[in-house]
Amino acid sequence: MSFKTDYKAVAGLGSAKDGTGHFISQRLTAIALMPLGVLFLIPFMKALGSDHEAVLATYQNPFHALIAIGFFIVGFRHLRLGLQVVIEDYVHAERPRMIYMILNALAWRGFAVAGAFAVAKIALTA
């Protein structure tokens, strides 16, 4: 049997039902993005506009590939959480709000997978 009281099940969760999870995740991803963002930016800016071979060579370097994959996963999580707040703030009608929230939740996870896949394919295709 469980010794948890009913109170314990709801304590600290607040009206959004997930407590401080959003807040903490937004900050942790922000901190992670400081090194990830800078380390992604420099090789990307060098690769942008260069020929296909050079771009493949850049991301066949495992360090650049790992940074780029990390940047997509963490960056799009941060982006999804931020956009969720924007939707919560500005979209008040029930149905569009629901639709935007669902699209937001699905799309950025999808983009993260797509970005990570693209980098991995380049990195693992010799």
Partner: protein, 128 residues
Amino acid sequence: MADTGQPNRPLSPHLSVYRNDIGMMMSIVHRLTGVGMAVTGMLLVWWFLAAAISPGYFLFVDGLLTSWVGTLVLLVSLWAFWYHFFNGVRHLRWDLVKGLGIGESNRSGLYALVLSVLLPVFCIYMTL
């Protein structure tokens, strides 16, 4: 009969009563740069997918991103990144209950604004 219509109450947050200041401007721009980088994020995924798919398709997408419109979009994105970066640092400091005074908050805002212009220039200098 009771009046069942919407009562004519004032609406929060009373935007018109605020004086424009750097704190307000920095906050609005933080959100704008965040939302704007959503577009940049999708462009980045497109560019990487193109590189993974074929040389021809890469040439097309890379050409779009380095056209004058693409360059403009990416230059604004680069500034947006650094703006959001430094203003984000301000937010993280505030979360640690540091730098919350009016004077120091205005000052850190100004620093963030200046750095957000300098760093893109530095990045371009580093990678050209």
